[in-house]
């Protein structure tokens, strides 16, 4: 008898716990009758985490009784861990109301109707205050699907002492930017005594297309066609192959590491680096003794001046049950004041032109150069619904080229895989 009771209790407990596990419904309206809006964004450095806490409190104070804002910070780790989490949520219909996504994936989610258009989020006059590069990245099929607070750029960081010792010219204006040949010669000259000439991002993930796509653009091609429907003939075009071979010559010559140590440039183990705009703050704050400078992104011989742009942006997902409340949250988060404070906290250039009136540091070197690149030479990453495949295939192709595969062959494979995905899921639409 006793046994039976124990068994019954155990079963009931287990069954109960199962129900809790599976049947959990996301809280949409809390006990105070407030509409609950959940935001997912990647875990960030302490200054940003503080910004979030402060702003969420302020928002909830101001909207007491109507909207309750909450945020789940999700570890991005490296490469594609955050995207994996989103994919899982798509399958279980468990997306948050507001989802932060990386710039180039805006089109992926938009094309798959995961996120919703936001054209009426701001008035036209207000949208005019946002940088074109940011709006371009966040537009798919003529509609705006996301809004971002910050932008990014990549510049050539250099160790001033090492360049001076080697007697290497430093470009003072964008017309004087290093050509690929100059970049190569400089890297070669600077490689000695355990120091490599340059550091090209080798994260085996999104960093590769982010930084390296510019070599394709500068050489007169791109990774995919303008409308995002075709990779063949672009990523693997003769100009593209030339770009890949140029990058490979840096690796094969030993002038850049395929396996760089963390902060190779910061620790004076690389003389130059193609580094993100956020590195300016890191170098200023954490490496005060390093004598460094930044200059323009290298350009192909007779090529186009080009530099990366793009940053994370917020979208509203199809799982939201209160679009108006979600928009109200976005209007708050991307107000002039909040864009400014966010950009300041994260040390990235803001997306709102008016913020530059407040953040006067962008009028002075080195940040003025970041701003100049952003406004004049910035190119967002391709807007294609197949971007996730393109990104992974491009990273893999570059890694294969750096370990000995023929550049044309590797890029052909990347083109074929990207086009296959596009034709399978998006071509007929």
């Amino acid at each position: 008898m006793k046994k039976r009771v124990v068994a019954a209790v155990l079963t009931a407990m287990l069954a109960g716990s199962l129900c809790v596990g599976c049947g959990q419904v996301k809280e949409r309206v809390n006990e105070d009758g407030e509409s609950v809006i959940t935001v997912w964004s990647p875990t960030d450095e302490p200054a940003i985490e503080e910004w979030w806490t402060e702003k969420i409190d302020a928002f909830n104070q101001a909207h007491k009784g109507r909207i309750h804002l909450q945020r789940e910070a999700i570890v991005r780790a490296d490469s594609y861990a955050y995207e994996d989490k989103i994919n899982a949520a798509i399958t279980s219909n468990d997306l948050p109301d507001i989802l932060f996504v990386d710039g180039p994936t805006v089109s992926v989610y938009a094309a798959n109707e995961i996120t919703l258009p936001l054209d009426d989020l701001f008035t036209e006059a207000e949208w005019d205050d946002f940088l074109d590069s940011s709006k371009q990245q966040n537009t798919y099929d003529g509609k705006i699907y996301a809004v971002g607070a910050t932008e990014s750029s990549v510049a050539l960081f250099y160790n001033a002492d090492m360049l001076e010792e080697a007697g290497i010219r430093i470009p003072q204006s964008k017309e004087e930017a290093w050509t690929w040949t100059e970049f190569y010669e400089a890297a070669k000259k600077l490689t000695k005594d355990g120091v490599v000439g340059t550091n090209i991002i080798m994260d085996k993930g999104e960093g590769l297309p982010y930084v390296l796509e510019q070599f394709w653009i500068s050489n007169g091609t791109d990774l995919v066609s303008e409308d995002g429907s075709q990779a063949d003939g672009y990523i693997n075009s003769p100009e593209g192959v030339e770009a890949a071979e140029f990058l490979n010559s840096l690796i094969q010559g030993g002038y850049a590491n395929i396996d760089p140590i963390q902060k190779e440039f910061h620790n004076e183990r690389a003389a130059t680096m193609l580094g993100g705009s956020w590195e300016v703050a890191t170098l200023e704050n954490d490496y005060p003794d390093l004598n460094w400078g930044i200059t323009y992104f290298p350009v192909a011989e007779n090529g186009i001046l080009s530099s990366p742009t793009g940053d994370w942006a917020a979208s509203v997902t199809k799982n939201t049950q209160d679009m108006e409340a979600a928009k109200e949250v976005l209007r708050f988060l991307f107000s002039e004041e909040n864009v400014t404070t966010y950009a300041k906290a994260i040390s990235k250039p803001p997306t709102r032109k008016s913020s530059y009136d407040v953040l006067t540091e962008y009028n002075e070197y080195p940040r003025s150069m970041i701003k100049e690149q952003l406004m004049e030479t910035g190119h967002p990453r391709p807007r294609t619904p197949s971007y996730s495949v393109l990104s992974a295939e491009f990273s893999e192709a570059m890694l294969n080229i750096f370990t000995g595969v023929d550049a044309k062959e590797a890029l052909d494979a990347a083109a074929a895989a990207t086009d296959k995905d596009y034709n399978k899921y998006y071509a007929q639409e």
Binding site: K3, T11, L14, A15, L18, E83, D259, S388, N400, Y425
Partner: protein
């Protein structure tokens, strides 16, 4: 009569007792497994759960023509064939070292077991640093260069990448099998060794004729679980190599992840998973038969 009533009620109690386990297994193993098989016959794109269409055997036809799939099969077998003997012998050697009652043996036991209690992700990141191909930053390459040898590409060289993963996996995993061997060694009666030594057997002979036969069941169990674990290789390529370079470390499970989550071909990934399931099951059944024979 009384006896049979008791038996009946006992049987009822027994069923009640297994219900929790059955419910859990059904919910978290059986149901997802059946769903996987179902999705394997669809064109499920993970972004479009609202647009799943039945597509017959298309996924399987594509799969058998897919070069990358066969490379993944080859890599998985490559890993399994190398890691199983290596790890088993290593574990047995460690167990033999530790089973002797020398001073300080417990320190070694803890040391050999410690990689096992460390998360594989942590171990993989550490070994990525050790394996760094640049002699200025990679510890192992620094050692090689100091010994006057050429630095090795390790994870960056398609020829050595999988073997590098084999080595670190055996190092990480051997501690667990060592514990099982240790238990097995303690189960061999002392008098057998005494009898062997009276008959004039030395250390090697008593190992060959007493220890090994005494461990026969343990060895077959260890080989079995190591094979199954090895077939499931995922964390190391995910953390260390992303399946590269040049496909050298793309395993079946990694391929399932890559197709399903990165490229969002969920239906196709399910087809790969289904085939993988068949491979593992037939391997286990085959091995069981061989061991019994």
């Amino acid at each position: 009569m009384q006896v049979s009533v008791d038996k009946k009620s006992e049987r009822k109690a027994a069923y009640l007792f297994i219900i929790p386990a059955v419910v859990l297994l059904a919910a978290f193993l059986l149901y997802p497994a059946l769903q996987t098989v179902r999705y394997a016959f669809t064109d499920y794109n993970i972004m479009r759960p609202d647009r799943i269409k039945f597509c017959g055997f298309n996924n399987f036809i594509e799969l058998f023509q897919d070069k990358d799939f066969w490379i993944a099969v080859k890599n998985t077998l490559h890993f399994t064939i190398l890691v199983v003997p290596f790890q088993t012998v290593l574990a047995l050697a460690l167990a033999l070292l530790i089973s002797s009652r020398r001073k300080g043996v417990s320190i070694f036991r803890a040391a050999y077991f410690s990689p096992q209690v460390t998360s594989m992700v942590v171990v993989a990141i550490l070994w990525t640093v050790l394996y760094n191909s640049n002699p200025n930053s990679g510890l192992l390459n620094a050692l090689l260069v100091n010994l006057g040898m050429e630095p090795c590409g390790f994870l960056n060289d398609p020829k050595s990448a999988m073997n590098s993963i084999v080595f670190m996996s055996a190092w990480q995993g051997a501690g667990y099998q060592m514990m099982i061997f240790l238990a097995g060694l303690q189960g061999i009666p002392k008098d057998q060794y005494e009898a062997a030594s009276i008959d004039g057997a030395g250390k090697i002979k008593s190992f060959l004729y007493v220890t090994l036969p005494g461990l026969k069941n343990v060895i077959s169990y260890v080989i079995m679980i190591t094979v199954i674990q090895a077939m499931k290789l995922f964390t190391q390529p995910y953390v260390m190599t992303k399946g590269g370079p040049q496909n050298a470390t793309r395993t079946l499970v990694y391929y399932v992840y890559e197709q399903g989550f990165q490229k969002r071909n969920f239906g196709y990934a399910c087809a790969v998973a289904a085939v993988f399931f068949v491979i593992v099951i037939s391997l286990s059944v085959g091995m069981k038969k061989i061991i019994k024979a």
